[in-house]
Amino acid sequence: MLTTVILRRLLFSFPTILGVATLAFLLGHMSPGDPAIAAMGLDLDGESMIDPDELARVREELGLNKPLIVQYLQWIGNALQGDFGTSYVSSTEVSEMVFEALPTTMLLLVLTMSTAIISGMALGIVSAVFRGRSMDYVARMIAIIGVSTPTFWFALVLMLTFAFAIPIFPMNGPVSEHGLIAMALPTLAIALHPAALIARMTRSSMLEVLSQDMIRTAAAKGLGKWRVFMVHGLRNAINPVITVIGFQFANLMGGAVAVEFIFSLPGLGSLLIEGIYEKDILLIQGAVLVIGVAFALSNLIVDLLYMVIDPRIRV
């Protein structure tokens, strides 16, 4: 029963992944400039000097003279095997560059996610439990400030304060150079926004549950205050919070792009920006594809988690 539902959900995520791949392909196709000329290592300005026979040969070699649909199928086929082509700019395999960058970004996202979940839920619970008192007021202020602070600006402020004025953390650079401490400021910078969103959702969801009769019953039974809040309250308030957490992956990656760039962390975000600055279309395609597939998968995991936690969804 549960297996069928999971299988169906797995099947559903397939078109999404295919769609992301199509989007990445079209992106490359839309870009101005001839990839054949780029592959020959020439600028667009030098177009008049190009030997037409040589150009035709390179086009043939890259498969650019084939119909669009054939190119598309070939690209998908190669991408499925983890081959995103060789970058015209740096002459390296794009897949190699992408998979080298992946661990940094994944580590950053995992650290950020755990920070955001723990601090956000704690803030939300405190806010709901002390509703209407000064603790609640302060927690809500923090949440609204957190939602409104631009991630890249916060990253700069953190860097200026805790790396320049008070040099506790390294200014920038990869983990391989400074160790895990290199992740501290980037993690804080990205985590603020999702933490605030999680706090707000935890608060409103908790308040809704805490107003129900079963909470009064539990309290009347003589259960301890925190036991009522955590076991009866939080357990029933958790579903909307998980939904918000699920949405955060896209949010986090968005934040990671600018923050990786600011702190010079060699992750997917930096790679994407590098691709954009260098007009390296294959690199952009590869990065977009990997990011998109990662999201489709994370959505899948959230949905599956949901089924495990809330039996009603299995029907």
Binding site: L23, M30, W153, L160, F164, T243, G254, L272
Partner: protein
């Protein structure tokens, strides 16, 4: 909302007309002090679009190398940047850039997205299935990544920035509109419209959408802040508004190079960006409590 006179009696049952209802609802909204604050701040910011030339003391591109990097003073309340341009004037003009891009993008996203979502939800079946699959594809790539990739392909011109920023908003509006349409689609009054032989388009735009307007307004106010944030991130990364047009993101990026000895260049635009985000987020919260108290739509 405009209600066109119709041969049927379906929409004419309320004793008060639309304008009175709107006025009462608006007064009720402004009864909260926080709502008054966020609404006032939003109006002030939007006014900047029109009155920027009257407030800014200097033209935004007036270069004065002799005054480069001077700290805040009476003549230059927020100091000057590396080229001696007045930071205050540039921040004010930057508000104009950011807010008008935000407004145009959200309006474009709203019109397109709501139409797509409403048609999708109303028709159902395979049309709905296909449209929602496409929406899901766009939802699984972060907004800034789509925007960066599109701008890099189309070039950083104003239309391509607006297009790049709208794509994700279109899908967000489509989702919300579809959900609202689904929830009112099976109401009796819609069945009644069918019974008297109204066309589908008329039912969707005249009878269904006005009843779904709450969540859409809430989403629009939240997305306005969101778009402005994405635009400034884009400009910060050098893929958005280009110099000399002032934009908060570009100013923060430029000021970043002088951060340690001339922090005012990037601190003030950052502060304005933060204020704008506060205004729109609070306004969105207030509107949600007011118009859509049960809806937990999270963006």
């Amino acid at each position: 909302m405009t209600v066109t006179p119709s041969p049927s009696m379906i929409e004419g049952s309320a004793s008060k007309n639309g304008w009175t209802l709107f006025k009462e609802s608006f007064q009720h909204f402004l009864a909260s002090r926080l709502n008054r604050f966020s609404f006032g701040l939003t109006v002030c910011l939007l006014l900047l679009i029109v009155i920027a030339p009257f407030i800014a003391i200097y033209p935004y591109d007036e270069v004065n190398p002799a005054l480069g990097l001077s700290p805040p003073s009476w003549a230059h309340p927020m100091g000057t940047d590396q080229a001696g341009r007045d930071v205050f004037s540039r921040v004010i003009y930057g508000a104009r850039t950011s807010l008008s891009i935000g407004l145009v993008t959200v309006l474009f996203g709203l019109l397109t997205g709501v139409t797509i979502g409403a048609v999708s939800g109303y028709l159902g079946g395979w049309v709905d299935e296909i449209i929602m699959r496409i929406v899901e594809i766009f939802m699984s790539i972060p907004g800034i990544v789509i925007a960066l990739a599109l701008v890099s392909v189309l070039g950083p011109s104003l239309p391509s920035i607006v297009l790049a920023l709208s794509i994700r908003r279109i899908t967000q509006f489509a989702r919300v509109a579809r959900g609202s349409v689904l929830s009112v689609k099976s109401e009796d009054y819609v069945t009644a419209c069918h019974a008297i032989g109204m066309s589908n388009l008329r039912i969707i735009f005249v009878h269904i959408l006005p009843n779904c307007i709450g969540p859409i307004i809430v989403l629009a106010s939240v997305l306005l802040g969101n778009v402005i944030l994405t635009e400034s991130t884009l400009s910060f990364l050098g893929m958005g508004i280009q110099e000399p047009t002032p934009s908060w993101g570009t100013m923060i990026a430029k000021g970043n190079e002088y951060l340690t000895f001339a922090p005012w260049i990037s601190v003030f635009p950052g502060l304005f960006l933060f204020l704008t985000m506060i205004a729109f987020n609070l306004l969105g919260d207030g509107l949600r409590d007011h118009l859509d108290p049960r809806g937990g739509s999270v963006v």
